[in-house]
């Protein structure tokens, strides 16, 4: 059932002068997946990604990519990985083509690949201009182009839509979404916005203050959008007892009755019982958390209750 893991970290830790930036992180990313790596500013996403790319050394723990230890087979692993870390890197005085050429020579891929990736990120028209004159979004595209240059099996993109306009975001999102289907590429994409990840990721990992607080499918996260029913009555304390007697698992919060996940029949029954025991039912509401609420709850409390 467990598919092949492309990235697996064990107890990954990074401390800066005793201050923990990432702690005990166990990342698991399966082949062909789009993994959304979420967390608020300063949560440790970039730090984790730097460790995955061998740019910084973990204080503790290990990184396995393609089933190989990053420490031992770094170059073999990196040959199969394309990356974009934080804001884009580029040589401003060179054109996009020259920039890509400096990467191409190291990757040793055919020259034609440069035109292909420029086309993929729609930069062909601007490719003969010095990159320092590019807008942030264009630089970001160039960064994605160089990440794609070596035909990677794994793409690691740290906030790739940073600085892009809505159309650009849409475009990059489409691009990322088709990676697994069209090219069999596994993607790790970080963001601090769930809404952005939601539309492309199949799995999410949520990190908060360096710790993983949720790692599962996006569907699983959605299922936890604990829909519930809220009932406002005249005498809540007695009403809750009535409900409990009928076998409804409810709680009382701020003078209102809360019931998790009731179906229509159950709601009807509960209301009937309450009315029968002469409670005034003022309101029956469905409470639905948005994904964003859950995300905020997760990063706020450090876990899902």
């Amino acid at each position: 059932m467990m598919s092949e893991l492309v990235i697996q970290t064990r107890n990954l830790n990074k401390r800066y002068r005793g201050r923990s930036a990432v702690s005990n992180l166990n990342l698991e990313i399966a082949k062909g997946e789009i993994y959304g790596f979420l967390g608020p500013n300063g949560a440790g996403k970039t730090t984790t990604i730097r460790m995955l790319l061998g740019l910084i050394r973990p204080t503790e723990g290990s990184v396995q990519i393609f089933g190989k230890d990053l420490n031992k087979e770094k170059l073999n692993i990196l040959r199969r990985v394309g990356s974009l870390v934080e804001y884009p890197s580029y040589y401003g005085h060179l054109t996009a083509v020259q920039n890509l050429e400096t990467v191409r020579r190291i990757l040793d891929v055919p020259r034609s690949r440069i035109d292909e990736v420029l086309d993929i990120v729609s930069l062909t028209k601007e490719s003969k201009r010095a990159v320092k004159g590019y807008s942030l979004g264009m630089k970001q595209r160039l960064g994605i182009a160089s990440a794609l240059l070596g035909n990677p099996e794994l793409l690691i993109l740290d906030e790739p839509t940073n600085g892009l306009d809505p159309a650009g975001i849409q475009e990059i999102r489409e691009l990322i979404r088709e990676m697994p289907q069209r090219h069999g590429i596994t993607v790790l994409v970080s963001s601090h916005l769930l809404g952005e990840i939601e539309q492309m990721a199949s799995t999410v990992g949520i990190i908060r203050e360096g710790e993983m607080v949720f790692q599962n499918t996006i569907q699983n996260l959605k299922d936890r959008a604990s829909e519930g029913i809220r009932i406002v009555v005249s005498e809540p304390e007695e009403a809750i007892r009535v409900a409990m007697d009928q076998g409804f698992e409810g709680t009382m919060q701020q003078g209102m009755l809360q019931f998790p996940n009731l179906n229509d029949a159950q709601v009807a029954l509960l209301v009937k019982r309450l009315v029968d025991s002469s409670h005034d039912v003022y309101r029956v509401e469905e409470k639905k958390k948005s994904l964003e609420d859950i995300f905020l709850q997760v990063i706020g409390e450090g876990g899902i209750s």
Partner: protein, 238 residues
């Protein structure tokens, strides 16, 4: 070979960064200075060096070579490193399948090549100036080549050090002030003991311990290069 490919990317990266300008400026500056010196005091100097006019010209150039080399090394390393620091390209470059040793040593190779170009230009410039000053056609090629290239070997330890400083600390004020300090200190080379590396560019020229100085420069240069590479390979990349 990977090393060659990385070096070739370094040549792309230094385009239009004033690095080639510096490579030409050094030797042209030294020659222009002597053109002025000899131009203004032609009769006096021709009289003073009448035994060996070419030798006189060479001596006047040679005394400035070590300091010019050290200044050149300082600026060159800083400019080369800045290409990567400026837009923090390290994170992209070092996430590519290339060892950090290769990246570091290719930059060293680039520095050596550029400085050799400067030395070669100085040879050509010296010959051209000598001919222009009508010092005769009995050109001491061997001496000119020796004097233009041997001090360079003596500065290899400094090249390795400056490269490491420039690549390690993105704040180039650190490496540049170090380089300038060494350059100024090298002016007083005559006063130093022979084990002081700043004396080696001069010692490598001639004198009783020339061979020792050359061997020591190569050995220490290589050692500093290895230490720099070892550190660069392990450090965290911002």
């Amino acid at each position: 070979m990977m090393w060659g490919r990385v070096l070739s990317t370094d040549f792309i990266k230094i385009r239009g960064k004033g690095i080639w300008f510096l490579v030409f400026l050094g030797p042209i500056g030294l020659i222009a200075m002597q053109a002025l010196n000899f131009g203004l005091r032609y009769d006096y100097l021709m009289e003073a060096y009448k035994e060996d006019v070419w030798g006189g010209l060479i001596v006047n150039i040679v005394i400035f070579i070590p300091m010019s080399l050290i200044m050149g090394i300082t600026l060159l390393c800083s400019l080369m490193a800045n290409v990567e620091h400026q837009t923090s390209s390290w994170k992209q470059l070092l996430a590519l399948p290339v060892s950090r040793m290769t990246v570091f040593s290719a930059k060293f190779g680039l520095g050596v090549i550029l400085l050799l170009v400067s030395c070669a230009l100085l040879v050509l410039g010296t010959i051209a100036l000598g001919l222009g000053l009508q010092l005769g056609t009995d050109i001491p090629y061997q001496d000119i080549v020796r004097f233009c290239f041997l001090p360079f070997i003596g500065t290899l330890p400094i090249l390795a050090l400056q490269l490491w400083l420039s690549l390690t600390y993105s704040n180039q004020a650190i490496s540049v002030s170090m380089g300038i300090t060494i350059a100024i200190a090298s002016l007083f080379a005559a006063k130093y003991d022979e084990w002081v590396p700043m004396k080696w560019p001069n010692m490598a020229l001639d004198g009783p311990h020339q061979i020792e100085a050359i061997v020591a420069s190569l050995f220490v240069g290589f050692t500093v290069l290895l230490l720099g590479m070892a550190h660069f390979s392990r450090k965290d990349v911002a």
